[in-house]
């Protein structure tokens, strides 16, 4: 190779990797794995709704009892989400700049509706995450949620079950959840299989299987999450309102 005459101070190999095209993609993929695992765990917790008020209320109490550790988990999740979005936006800017003059006619041969809407689905999911936290975690959308209490084996605890039933009884609220979760399923229909390709864990034989499994998981998550607002709209849990 030619002799390097550059006197610029050299970047560390780690920084060079992190801010390379492949490094940035890797961060998006790794943070994506954590987000997918979180979403799966979150669904399992939510599904305790169908086991009745006592089960989900005690599950929620156990979570809150984690105390400071809960804040560590929350801070970790926030950091992961921030990294995911930061690197996505940085990739997006570069990708946009890489084609200054667009095609007059462009036909896609293989890109799917899911892969082509990653930014849109991601941004809507982000807006939804904020709404969801205000709705059920900070409880500022309907401040009455703060005061729902119930007796759990002789102890007064927050009545999460009632909060969910009241929350999802409002059709527009349920509609926001169902539409946003549909977009999350869009995001993951491409994202799950895509992360294996990004991380170098795929190959010609595995790719169609990752694509099938990723899409299946994405839509199973959708069915699982939306089963709760749908059930409430169909009358499940009405007795909690009395």
């Amino acid at each position: 190779m030619g002799v390097s005459t550059s006197s610029a101070k050299s970047v560390s190999p780690l920084a060079a990797w992190l801010f390379s095209s492949i490094g940035k993609k890797t961060v998006v993929a790794v943070t994506g794995i954590f987000l997918v695992l979180f979403v799966c765990g979150h669904l399992l917790g939510n599904l305790t709704f169908f086991l009745g008020p006592d089960i989900i209320n005690s599950y929620a109490k156990h979570l809150r009892d984690l105390g400071p550790f809960l804040w560590v988990i929350r801070a970790g999740l926030l950091a992961i989400l921030v990294l995911h979005i930061f690197f996505t936006v940085s990739l997006w800017k570069e990708n946009h700049a890489a084609r200054p003059e667009k095609y007059v006619v462009k036909n896609h041969v293989k890109a799917t509706i899911f892969s082509r809407t990653m930014r849109l689905s991601g941004l809507i999911v982000f807006a939804f995450v904020i709404f969801h936290i205000l709705h059920y975690t900070a409880r500022t959308i309907d401040p009455a949620f703060q005061h729902y209490e119930t007796d759990l084996h002789g102890e007064m605890v927050h009545n999460v079950y009632k909060m969910m039933v009241v929350g999802f009884s409002v059709p527009w609220v349920s509609a926001i959840y169902i539409v946003s979760l549909g977009l999350l399923a869009f995001h993951l229909s491409h994202g799950i299989a895509s992360l294996f390709q990004t991380l170098g864990l795929s190959n010609k034989q595995l790719r169609p299987r990752f694509e099938f499994a990723g899409r299946a998981l994405a839509w199973l998550l959708f069915l699982g999450f939306t089963s709760i607002p749908v059930a409430v709209l169909l009358g499940v849990g009405r007795e909690a309102l009395k």
């Binding site: 560390s12 492949i22 003059e101 790719r207």
Partner: protein, 254 residues
Amino acid sequence: MNFHLKVWRQKASNAPGKLESYEAKNIPAEASFLEMLDIVNDDLVAKGQEPIAFDHDCREGICGMCSAVINGVPHGKDRGVGTTCQLYMRKFQDGETITIEPFRAGSFPIIRDLSTNRAAFDRIIQAGGFISERSGSAPEANSVPIPKTIADEAMDAAACIGCGACVAACPNSSAMLFVSAKVNHLNLLPQGKPEKHRRVLGMVKQMDAEGFGNCSNYYECEAVCPAHVPASFITSMNREYTVAAARKSAGATG
């Protein structure tokens, strides 16, 4: 056969361009796409107009020089052939409107009309797409055993003719299919192993410096590749790049 053409005309890299309409008349069905453009150009020259500039060389699908995005698809690959020079007019409907644009990417500046400067690919090759060998008499070919499966895979990567259709097709103008084909072609083989890590680091660095976009796994590239290079090479390049970067961070030589 007759066609209505809409062709991108642009006088120079930094000049504005636009689609102009032309009629392609009495085109034989067995004419290639480039021959059809030759006929249209003869007509333009006869009328004293500037002919359409387009890239071409071998006209047999091996050099990677011809380009053009035909009805929104590089090389018109959706019609199931390979390069633009191998695409025959019988694949089109008589009377069809055909839009012809250059390969578009900031890293492939337009020279004129449909002709683009793809020297960025040459600079990526210079950054590692070679092996260092002593010159002199050729060694006995069979002295280096290579498993058949590895040889086949390296051949699939080596099929890349470096035309740039992958970049043209990619919504992000990413060059990852090209770079991964070159990296894998050499990294798979014993002759390329000594420079394996430096190669992938160097070529990816140059690819990024050239301003190509980043892969989002749309797979548009493999769909239009005239040499059928699969995107599975991209996943192995990603892996090799991270391994090489980790080795370099840890101070390993190579």
